[in-house]
């Protein structure tokens, strides 16, 4: 079955300039990620994985090339429009979890919902549902510092899926987790891709989780070497 394309990048180049020298992080990358698929991006450090993830997530702008999100060219959007695209279409999961330490686990999810326009009783109800979805319903009122790394990353997953974005972008989501927790998080991401037809992109170095991938993208020196 052919899945709908959620994000496509075409001929994307990213160059960082510093004084008279320039470093090319991405060099003419073409990639389409589809809903219903868990795509894993692998490659050595400095190969351009995170840069590509940032460009797909509308956090970075490409130096050249085009990026389309749900069929819309976002390359030409201004600085005010880009955050709105992220908010509406993307959910992010970070290596260091990046939960708000001053909010409880449930409130972290509520905050994401609030940003997306669901607040009050509706936000609370939806946040509880999402916490149940990631198996942490009973941890709703716990602060992140009282949760294990695996539990924190599950909360981050609940936060990322709040508001039902089509795309989940995860940067090294298992790097700070033990093997069991890492697999448990990947199972969750896989279920989001397969069960909820989301496009899930995971940047990883972790060979232990490769069997969760529907598709592997290998990068080297700013280029895709296997897709």
């Amino acid at each position: 079955m052919e899945h709908e394309i959620a994000i496509s990048v075409s001929g994307v180049t990213k160059t960082y300039s510093e004084g008279s020298s320039a470093t090319t992080a991405l060099n003419g990358v073409d990639l389409a990620v589809r809903r219903g698929e868990l795509t894993m991006m692998m490659g050595p450090s400095g190969s351009g994985k995170t840069t590509l993830l940032s460009i797909m997530g509308c956090i970075l702008r490409p130096t050249s090339g085009t990026v389309q999100v749900s069929g819309r060219d976002v390359t030409t959007l201004n600085e005010r429009q880009m955050p709105a695209i992220r908010l509406r279409h993307m959910g992010f999961i970070f290596q260091g979890f990046n939960l708000f330490p001053t909010l409880t686990a449930g409130e972290n999810v509520e905050l994401s919902l609030q940003l997306k326009g669901t607040s009050g009783a509706d936000g609370n109800k939806e946040a509880r549902r999402l916490m149940e979805l990631v198996g942490l319903g009973e941890k709703y009122d716990q602060y992140p510092r009282n949760l294990s790394g695996g539990q924190q990353q599950r909360v981050a997953v609940a936060r990322a899926v709040a508001g039902s974005p089509e795309v989940i972008l995860a940067d090294e989501p298992t790097a700070a987790l033990d093997s069991h927790s890492g697999r448990s998080v990947l199972e969750l991401l896989q279920s989001l891709a397969h069960g909820q037809q989301r496009a899930v992109v995971v940047v990883t170095h972790d060979n232990r989780i490769l069997d969760f991938a529907d598709r592997m993208v290998r990068m080297e020196d700013g280029m895709i070497t296997q897709s």
Binding site: P83, F94, G120
Partner: protein, 374 residues
């Protein structure tokens, strides 16, 4: 809705204490400095502000109330004969020398009044009665100068320039700008205590008749008394205040202290609020990466600053109370009025929000891609 701003502030109690300490320090510093400025300014012209007179007649070119040349009391009768004058009275303010029972001397400012009239009388009398000034040799002093003058209670005798005087009452809060306390007595006594000729006064206080045009009356008196100056009370109070505050340099130093307090306070608050925001910089970066609009981030930072301002201000009020109370007991004229406190509330909120805006600039410059950098 998750109360991110409030939680950011209250989550780390030590950081909260540091933040509030900074604000309290700044607010107390500013209030005390401004209170000193207002206190000094007010004390320079206390006898004018409380005189109940509409006009003051002085010798030509009298620079301020504490140094006035005497003039013949015939002028007093000319004033009384002027249409539009409801009442007039002779009035003396002059330096003299107080001698305590143990022989120590102090400079004082003798104020000669007419106890039967309504103008120029001592105010805030806490012991005794103004009519008791009519007793022979009677004087009244302020209770804050009891120790300085060696006075313990009503009925004690002292000397002022070799004349015996008897304390018949005390006032409260009548401070002199200089180190010389006011000593209220009758006009006649004051003439003796200040070595005035019997036909001399150094001021005539005027009460205008109801409905009289004060400016016209002032002009008419000036026409009739060309060798004198005629001031409204407000004008003379301002002239006196300006002299002490700006000509002597005393006021400038207090004013500079107040201005410095404001600057130091602003810097302390800015650094404090800035540091509080930087403590959460990674979270703001995450918010930006998630796609939070700038307005949301602004709101969190401004709310944080505003809550800190209100809490810091409230604590500062308590500290200010003790500082001003202690300062006043020690003789420092710190005048904290409700107007100053209301203004200071807005200054505090303004300072904190300004500091928040400075840190917003830092947050807005954040690269949201920082969240992918471990």
């Amino acid at each position: 809705m998750p109360p991110l701003a409030r939680r950011n502030l209250f989550h780390d109690k030590i950081r909260l204490m540091v933040t509030l300490n900074g604000i309290v320090f700044a607010v107390v510093l500013i209030v005390v400095q401004l209170g000193l400025f207002f206190g000094f300014t007010t004390s320079t012209k206390g006898v004018l502000d409380h005189s109940q007179a509409d006009l003051w007649i002085t010798a030509r070119n009298t620079p301020y109330v504490d140094v006035a040349v005497s003039f013949n009391e015939r002028k007093y009768y000319q004033v009384l004969a002027t249409p539009g004058v409801a009442a007039a009275q002779k009035y003396i303010v002059r330096w003299s020398q107080w001698k305590g029972q143990d022989g120590h001397t102090e400079s004082v400012e003798v104020v000669g009044v007419d106890p039967d009239k309504a103008m120029g009388l001592p105010w805030n009398i806490v012991e005794g009665d103004v009519s008791q000034l009519k007793q022979p040799h009677a004087v009244m002093v302020d209770e804050i100068y009891k120790q300085k003058l060696g006075v313990h209670k009503v009925g004690e005798w002292f000397e002022v320039r070799d004349y015996r005087v008897k304390v018949v009452g005390f006032t409260r809060g009548i401070r002199a700008f200089t180190t010389a306390p006011y000593v209220f007595t009758t006009f006649k006594n004051a003439q003796d205590l200040c070595m005035f000729d019997v036909d001399k006064t150094n001021f005539v206080l005027v009460k205008a008749a109801p409905g009289a045009d004060l400016k016209k009356l002032q002009a008419e008196l000036q026409r009739r008394l060309p060798d004198n100056d005629i001031y409204t009370t407000r004008e003379f109070a301002q002239k006196t205040s300006n002299y002490w505050m700006f000509t002597t340099g005393a006021g400038i130093s207090v004013l500079m202290g107040a201005a410095l307090g404001l600057v130091v306070g602003l810097v302390v608050v800015t650094q404090t609020i800035y540091a509080t925001t930087l403590d959460h910089i990674r979270e703001f970066g995450t918010l930006k990466a998630m796609g939070a609009p700038n307005s949301f981030v602004y709101r969190v930072i401004i709310t944080q600053a505003a809550i800190a301002a209100v809490m810091g201000y409230s604590l500062a009020l308590v500290v200010t109370f003790f500082v001003t109370h202690g300062g006043s007991s020690a003789g420092a004229p710190i005048m904290v009025t409700w107007r100053l406190l209301v203004a200071m509330f807005f200054v505090t909120v303004g300072m904190c929000i300004t500091a928040g805006l400075v840190s917003i600039k830092k947050v807005m410059g954040l690269d949201p891609a920082m969240v992918f950098r471990g």
